[in-house]
Symmetry: C2
Subunit: 468 residues, 2 copies
């Protein structure tokens, strides 16, 4: 009863401002300017040059590694070189995980090497034991406690390919939930078929976790052909593997969110925030994850920054290169915490962190009074082959903590059909990016950020009451 | 003048038997039987099961490794299990090369790992030095002696993709000729863009050689994305890499050519010889190079062997799984040497060693009297989508030494468009084989071997006078 009353009161609180609020508007002059910016962006190679520079000069940049510091310096210098008005950093502290070496091999009559990589957060260790194969996380979770004593658990779940990446939900749960399920069944170590969709000898790394109270065990991913091979050998009879991981947590590290701003014409304290994450896994050079996102944000802000001051959008464009997304959204959570008091000043946010495929859909969940402005943005995006959808997929991982407490959020959905062929593997390299598709992304973010920043009125950012 | 007389005399010697010789014929009954065998082969999965077994149970099988011995035992057992009438081995001795570990990294301001593999035959060694890039072997060959003192030579030649693999000629010359050219210019070490056509972080290994009188230097191949990365960094300024190879020659090893026969109906001492090579490089599991070739030969012989004895072809089908092709055709040369006296008893030969892509062309260089029989074989192959061509590409690497001294030879050309994406890399695994394309290969070899073995007359095998 009390809950119903409270809900009614809350819905009244939400509904009232909606009725009082003037519709948010985007004028014709802004639309004309957005078209010009869009066409310029399509013909511009700034995005490509930025991602080429980051992936070549810094290369892989595991959070907490010496390359993390080089990436921060790179980002500061790149923002300045691109003419950003303000450039600064905000500290982000996290535990540091190190990968030193890793190997696995079949022992015995079918002796051969397996291509394996430690999951982020795994402890090191050497284990030689028989493998027990499971077809899914659910199957391993059903294993009786102690039933895997002295064994290595192997989940051989095949992730499915999809344009919107929806196969990654179940795929990544095998990575995050598998180790704890293996420990509960008594296993000495855990291996999984990588959460990926390719057919190469590339294991896919990624963060895992261990439930409280469990003693972590060495946990690793096999490439898909290696998982196939192990499954065939298990089907032939008892198979032992020797897993040797040297990795683990090693103290704390403080990295930085690196932020650049193109100052707004008339409301410089209000911001539209875009960006990507600066860290990458260590196996590839972090081109699609997420050099592309950083480059798209930096290039979009840069293009808006080249407008004569009087033609700048009303609000500021803020581009954030987030620290340590990969190991738990540390940069995004630090940003949300630091800027919570300024939440209403965040007009709208969108992060690019799903590769460099073409954007095919745009969506923003906003109050009714902003729907007309959202439709205007969609109208300017449509010639890029971008469809307006009612329901989006959120605003990217690093803005999700801020969105959770009330920041208005838009989503520009990229075609991720091939994303999980490369994601978290050595193959995440520059050559996998199509420069034309990247330019389409830059054009979309430029149009989006410009129009959102120039709109008369807001998109509904407002602190949410904390969930009870 | 004397040369002209000699040539005239020789042409007379060659021409005389041609005029006297009856045309080689293939009868209608044999053609009917070939059609039946072809359709059975297309519906049969023996080839797939054989290559699955070899690549799974033995896995990688570098010549001279402990897996080489396992592969020999596997081949003997498999021939027996497939019902071959005779199974035996013939020794093949060669120097043993071992790969123990290998790594490379950019050092300094752009520090990052590079994916590298030692070339077969390379010595080990640790070298940290500046890289000098060349666009081709020819460019490195022009470098002045001593001009690369204290440096690492890097050839960044991009191999081209082609259905018939013709890009591999210049591509593999960079591998075989680069190290000696680097030594002549004074280099401490040699790295090359892999001779491959893919875009993965897989370096392509393969044998190299050092010219007499030169002191070998550590020599390695970079994956194509790593070569791109190194080229970009070199373009930005001085770049040092640290190369660390632990590999080298280590004594001699004696492996075996493994041979299985389906005995002929009426001329059991005459043979049609088919097969592939049993060894592989160590990085992949040797599925397309050359598990497929072994499987195609074994399955074709097996299918012919299932015929009732009275319906067997006149001659014997001999399937050879050759030892150590990769490091210098050791198995093929041993076979030619051992069987030189029986050369005329070799009716016709063809080896499969270009992957598992569909066969699209058939050719046999024979005397005129055998052309009608060749046309009959082509006629039986045509429904498989195989075109009859006048000029073939030889009969595969391992039969080339025997062909050079006079064995008649046919070629069944496979579509190798994707072959050099996988060749000599970790990605040469079972999943890269299309079972239907493999069955088409088996059908083609079955038809070819059956008809060649049953022909009335020969295809021109005769000892060649040694080239002066």
């Amino acid at each position: 009863m009390r809950r119903t009353l409270l809900a009614a009161a809350l819905s009244l609180l939400v509904a009232l401002p909606l009725q009082a609020q003037q519709p948010t508007r985007i004028g014709d002059a802004a639309m004309t300017q957005a078209v010009t910016l869009r066409e310029r962006a399509l013909a511009d190679d700034t995005g490509w040059k930025v991602v080429e520079s980051l992936t070549t000069e810094v290369g892989p940049r595991l959070a907490g590694s010496e390359a993390d510091a080089r990436a921060v310096e790179w980002a500061k210098a790149k923002f300045k070189a691109l003419g950003y008005d303000k450039v600064w950093t905000e500290p982000v502290t996290f535990p540091k995980w190190e990968r030193r070496s890793e190997s696995a091999r079949i022992v015995g009559a079918h002796a051969q090497a397996l291509h394996v990589t430690a999951l982020g957060g795994s402890p090191g260790g050497k284990v030689e034991a028989e493998v027990v194969r499971f077809e899914s996380l659910e199957a391993l979770e059903k294993a009786a406690p102690g039933s895997l004593a002295g064994k290595i658990a192997f989940i051989d779940y095949p992730m499915t390919r999809a344009k919107d990446g929806r196969g990654y939900g179940p795929g990544s749960r095998v990575r995050s939930g598998g180790p704890s399920a293996a420990i509960r069944a008594g296993a000495l170590a855990y291996v999984m078929r990588s959460a990926g969709t390719d057919s190469h000898r590339n294991p896919h790394t990624g963060i895992t976790r261990f439930d409280d109270g469990l003693k972590p065990i060495p946990s690793a991913a096999l490439s898909l052909p290696d998982a196939d091979q192990l499954a065939r050998l298990v089907a032939l009879g008892q198979v032992k593997i020797a897993l040797d991981l040297d990795c683990g947590w090693n103290g704390e590290y403080t990295s930085q969110n690196v932020i650049g701003e193109i100052t707004g014409r008339s409301k410089p304290d209000d911001v539209v925030v875009i960006g990507g994450h600066l860290d990458s896994w260590d196996l590839g050079t972090g081109a699609i994850d997420d050099g592309a996102g950083v480059a798209i944000g930096m290039a979009a802000g840069h293009l808006i920054g080249t407008l004569p001051k009087g033609q700048r959008p009303a609000r500021t464009i803020r581009v954030v290169a987030f620290a340590n997304e990969e190991q738990g959204l540390y940069g995004g959570r630090a940003y949300a915490q630091k800027h919570a008091a300024d939440l209403r000043k965040h007009q709208l946010g969108a992060e690019s962190d799903f590769g460099a495929g073409r954007i095919y859909a745009f969506a923003a969940k906003t109050p009714d009074y902003a729907k007309e402005a959202v439709a205007r943005i969609a109208q300017a995006l449509a010639p890029l082959g971008i469809e307006h959808r009612e329901d989006g997929e959120g605003c990217g991982p690093d803005l999700s903590p801020f969105n959770a407490i009330g920041m208005a959020c838009a989503g520009l959905s990229q075609d991720g059909t091939d994303y999980f062929d490369l994601h978290h593997t050595p193959d995440d390299t520059l050559d996998k990016i199509d420069p034309k598709a990247l330019a389409q992304n830059v054009a979309a973010y430029t149009v989006f950020a410009f129009l959102a920043a120039d709109a008369q009125g807001d998109f509904g950012s407002a602190p949410k009451p904390a969930t009870p």
